[in-house]
């Protein structure tokens, strides 16, 4: 009997002891765990550029060798014509310049006719440029024929399965255009402000052709804001040239559509 009592006391004491030990833990406030950060694994790039690196190096070395051959140590470097900074000399530019010089010689030829308007009345001046613009406002801007001078771009690599740009490529392009786009601030943000521009690009990222897809809206009455918005988007693309496109996969991105929509920004 006393043995049983002894064991009963012992086990009860043990239970009380264990309870006393564990109760403070229960009284303590739960540990403030930081919220779970969900990490999404995104494939940044399907293919690295490494396979092209040896080939690129070969070409760079070739170019270096050629340079060394032309400029010998004995002969002083010949004076080169000064080039304008910030500009990449394109074959098209030189042609444009020649044309402009021709025009300059005969300024009377393009002197526009300005009609007299009445007291404080404003009148649109007659201008051939304006008419041309009305007929075809920024619809197409065809550059001269493309020259495949850039061998480094691997334009012949076709990758029919990876159609979209990778996230990093898209972000680079987007960030570049963000910087170039001066958004007209007076636009009515409760209207549809989507401007879709289809671009045809050269391998170096310069624009071969740009086209506003909803072109009909440009001259729709009551939608004058759309023209201003579309023009600003076109300006952004032109200022940004050459666009930051991936060095490879020209076939993938030679046709590119940019959807400009400042609604969120203007609502801000």
């Amino acid at each position: 009997m006393s043995k049983n009592l002894f064991f009963s006391f012992l086990f009860h004491a043990l239970i009380i002891y264990l309870t006393a030990l564990t109760l403070p833990f229960m009284l303590r406030e739960p540990i403030d765990l930081p919220p779970i950060v969900s990490v999404e694994f995104i494939e940044i790039k399907d293919k690295t550029y490494i396979p092209f690196a040896p080939k690129a190096r070969e070409i760079i070395e070739k170019v270096k060798e050629e340079k060394n051959r032309v400029v010998s140590e004995q002969a002083p470097p010949s004076a080169k014509a000064k080039e304008k900074p910030d500009r990449i000399p394109l074959p098209d530019d030189q042609k444009e310049k020649k044309q402009l010089i021709k025009k300059k010689q005969n300024p009377e030829e393009i002197k526009p006719q300005i009609r007299q308007s009445s007291e404080f009345e404003k009148k649109e001046l007659f201008d051939t440029n304006e008419i041309a613009a009305l007929i075809d406002k920024a619809k197409e801007e065809q550059a001269n024929t493309m020259k495949k001078s850039d061998k480094l771009t691997q334009s012949n690599v076709k990758n029919s399965f990876a159609q979209a740009l990778s996230l990093s490529e898209e972000d680079a392009l987007r960030a570049q255009i963000f910087g170039c786009w001066s958004v007209p601030l007076g636009l009515p943000y409760d209207k549809n402000l989507l401007v879709r521009i289809k671009l045809q690009l050269k391998p170096d990222g310069t624009i071969l052709k740009s086209e506003i897809l909803d072109h009909a809206r440009m001259n729709t009455p009551g939608q004058s804001f759309y023209k201003i918005l579309a023009e600003s988007a076109l300006r952004a693309v032109r200022i940004c040239q050459p666009l930051k496109v991936p060095p490879t996969g020209y076939e993938r991105w030679k046709n590119l559509q940019l959807n400009f929509d400042p609604t969120e920004m203007l609502k801000g």
Partner: protein, 445 residues
């Protein structure tokens, strides 16, 4: 057969791949001011001389006004003229776009003027330099004395073409000009161009004047004046100078404002410590009581469509802003924040209401949506109030006072403007101290 179907399927997949167009969404842009080159206007050699100005320098003067207007918006960055390569006359015919692009300009303004037979003819062109094309070309003919207005009208056209909203440069501001020590202020009604030029005084300063407001055609002004120590609402015709008392109220009337159609004046009438909002039809002179509440209801302002009225009232204990239908029904409190709210003014665009807020002894000018949501405080100071909208609803003009010391020195009242982003705050220069500004609508519509 299966093979043929398979081949067709393969071709279809290939075609689909070939046509898939990469699309990139651009939802943000920069808010940096647009770099613009404003070339001096070319003065025609056959121009007559004028007593009003040096004809040879007029082209440069006009371009300077356009430049100042453009800069004051905070949306444009007019480039330094020293960097301009092309002469004004040649640039006006056909600019060398690549030269202008070199100085990082995105737009170019060129122009030409001629004074002949006492008429000033000004033409201007706006060029898009990146697209290498003309965006706009207009010509104006007027009397030579109007040359500053021509510069403002050109500024409006450029602003409109590049931002997509109306301009606000060819406008005037009516305000109360203040001179003398704080206790003995002489207050006159004054009128000036929005850039502070062409100032005109409309009253002599014998009576105290407050809160002038334009009617929609900018011909009439309603304001409050103390005559024989009784504050009353008056009406003044700017052209003829004729003044009259508005309505036959047996007491004090104040805080007047025109309805958007200009046919009514809405104001407060105070009697026995209670003030309510009344309107008066200017044609029939019929007076109508709009609010009926034993509290102080004042500062009424119509919505641009004339259907609603915003006002402030202390019916909840503290001064707050309320909105009601124009017949006085459907009163709804729209401000619930801490502090006092007053002087609500409905934006000409209808989307926002500007107000003055007082909290912990500081004064704020802010804007909110017409339902009271989206409150944004634009500027904070020791004392400032009475915001008034520019006609395009982008800029607010208000006045700000500085604190006087014990001897009464250091006190001043100046006009300031701020745009609704809150980033572009500027002093509006006036000859004297100034308060209670009110912006006109566009003079040339």
């Amino acid at each position: 057969m299966k093979k043929i179907i398979l081949i067709f399927l393969m071709i279809a997949i290939n075609l689909n791949n070939a046509n898939a167009l990469i699309k990139v969404d651009i939802t943000r842009g920069n808010l940096d001011p647009l770099p613009i080159a404003i070339s001096p206007l070319h003065v025609d050699k056959n121009s007559q001389k004028s007593d009003l100005f040096d004809t040879n320098k007029l082209g440069e003067e006009i371009s300077k006004i356009i430049e100042q207007n453009a800069r004051s918006t905070g949306l444009f960055n007019p480039l330094n003229k020293d960097a301009f390569v092309q002469k004004p006359d040649i640039a006006h015919l056909k600019p060398r776009f690549e030269d202008w692009r070199l100085i990082k300009a995105q737009a170019l303004v060129t122009g030409k003027l001629l004074i002949k037979d006492d008429k000033l003819k000004v033409e201007f062109r706006l060029w898009d330099l990146t697209a290498a094309k003309e965006m706009q070309a207009l010509s104006f003919t007027t009397t030579p004395s109007n040359w500053r207005r021509v510069a403002h009208i050109i500024s409006d056209k450029i602003y409109e073409r590049l931002t997509g909203e109306g301009g606000y440069f060819d406008t005037r501001i009516i305000f109360v000009s203040e001179t003398g020590p704080k206790e003995q202020r002489v207050k006159k009604l004054a009128l000036m161009d929005q850039d502070g030029h062409n100032i005109k005084y409309l009253t002599l300063g014998n009576e105290l004047v407050l809160t002038p407001r334009f009617n929609p055609t900018n011909q009439l002004v309603t304001y409050m004046s103390y005559f024989r120590n009784m504050p009353r609402v008056y009406l003044l015709d700017i052209e003829t100078g004729i003044q009259e008392i508005v309505g036959n109220f047996p007491g004090m009337t104040f805080a007047p404002r025109f309805s958007p159609d200009g046919k009514k004046i809405i104001m407060s009438f105070a009697k026995d410590g209670n003030s309510d909002i009344y309107s008066m039809d200017l044609n029939t002179r019929v007076v109508e009581q709009i609010t009926k509440h034993p509290s102080i209801d004042t500062s009424p302002s119509f919505s641009p469509d004339g259907k609603f009225i915003a006002f402030n009232s202390d019916r909840s204990g503290l001064q707050q802003i309320y909105v009601m239908r124009s017949d006085g029904t459907g009163v709804k409190r729209i401000t619930h924040g801490k502090g006092l709210y007053g002087t609500p003014v409905w934006s000409p665009r209808g989307d926002l209401i500007a107000f003055t807020k007082v909290r912990k002894g500081r004064f704020y000018i802010g804007v909110m949506r017409s339902d009271g949501s989206g409150e944004r405080l634009l500027t904070e100071n020791f004392y400032q109030e009475a915001p008034s909208w520019s006609p395009n609803g982008r800029v607010l003009i208000f006045y700000r006072e500085t604190k006087a010391d014990k001897t009464g020195k250091g006190f001043s009242a100046k006009l300031w403007s701020i745009d609704i982003t809150g980033y572009n705050e500027r002093r509006v220069k006036t000859e004297t101290d100034a308060s209670d500004p009110s912006w006109s609508s566009l003079l040339s519509k």
